[in-house]
């Protein structure tokens, strides 16, 4: 963690005096919190939507993959990824994606293990991207994930600060 990040984390306070003295930092922190909430909400709703549609109990994901195969160039890497990895393991992937989205979404909204949640989100997005579902709308999500990993976002309107004080041995994950 850089000195700058540690400094921001230690110094930050919701007091009017701090906000007056650090208007730019405060704006950055507010934007960080806002985007963390929106990102978390996006993931949580996506996960809940998958549960409602029966991703955990039906073979819907298999149908999704089979349809995607009709839209991809058979010579592409994404086509091979779907055929050789995603299709055979679609029940497992259904669970990982659905549960992962819910857990990551809740983690980001509540600011619990925010860094680990961001790494989980990055993993899901990365596999979406290489599995034939890449589009430019993923780029802002990747950037936000990296920001949430670098900065102690969970300490700003989140439970990480509280948890860190109670479980200091967990270090970076809650820092």
């Amino acid at each position: 963690m850089t000195d700058e990040v540690i400094k921001t984390q230690k110094e930050f306070s919701w007091s009017g005096a701090w906000i007056k003295q650090n208007p730019l930092r405060f704006t950055g922190i507010i934007l960080n919190i806002l985007f963390r909430f929106l990102f978390g909400l996006f993931f949580l709703l996506a996960g809940v939507n998958k549960i409602i549609k029966g991703w955990l109990t039906t073979d819907l994901l298999e149908a999704v993959f089979l349809q995607r195969l009709t839209e991809l160039n058979p010579a592409s890497f994404a086509y091979s990824y779907l055929i050789e990895f995603a299709l055979p393991l679609y029940p497992l992937i259904s669970w990982i994606v659905t549960v992962g989205e819910v857990v990551v979404g809740l983690g980001l909204i509540l600011g619990i293990a925010t860094r680990l949640s961001s790494i989980g989100g990055f993993f899901i997005l990365f596999n979406l991207a290489i599995g034939g579902y890449y589009d430019a709308s993923l780029l802002p999500f990747f950037i936000l994930n990296i920001i949430f990993i670098i900065y102690p976002s969970g300490h700003w309107l989140g439970f990480d600060g509280l948890l860190k004080r109670r479980y200091p041995q967990h270090g970076w994950a809650l820092s």
Binding site: L38, F42, A63, V64, L66, Q67, L69, T70, E71, L72, N73, P74, I83, E84, F85, L87, P88, L89, Y133, Y134, D135, A136, S137, L139, P140, F141
Partner: protein, 190 residues
Amino acid sequence: MTCWTRTITAWTFAASLFLYSPASIAVAQQPSDPLATPDWGDYPLLMSQFGELCTMCEAYVRCTPNADQEISSKLYYFKNKTFWGQVATIWFYFAKWFAPITNEGRPAAIYTFSPDSSAESMMPAEAYLDVAESKIEIGGTWIDRDTNTWFALDNTTLGQCVRLGIPESMKAIEDAAPWQIKAKMADATQ
């Protein structure tokens, strides 16, 4: 070999077995004829059980004129959304709770085929997919997404359209297109 090396080798071997045994099942799920038109189901043109033509999906629609029409048949190629169109889907996701998005534009290309099925020309175009009115506008014509009927903008019936699979469309263009059309195709897809 150290204990760690043996452990890693054993796990790699087990993981390979785990991944590749079901892989053979998936390969068997592929259509036997890759050039066959997929079954698109009973949905409006360019829609599926998962909704509107997706951001990164491409599609080909072939429109054939009725016998009384003296026009060439067309192959409409609907491309991925533009870069900013893709980024905007995040906004659309949140905005749809307040005002549903009912239409979208995306880049396209129009291949004109002569009666002997050789491609005569290819030109870039902009296509508009309208969910509310269930129509697609492209190149001075429009397609009814429910009946697949092809119309001129003055509502004269031109013919009928059908969605083709990507491999069969690419092959049709490759077979029919003279070299200069192929060069333009390469430019258009960059």
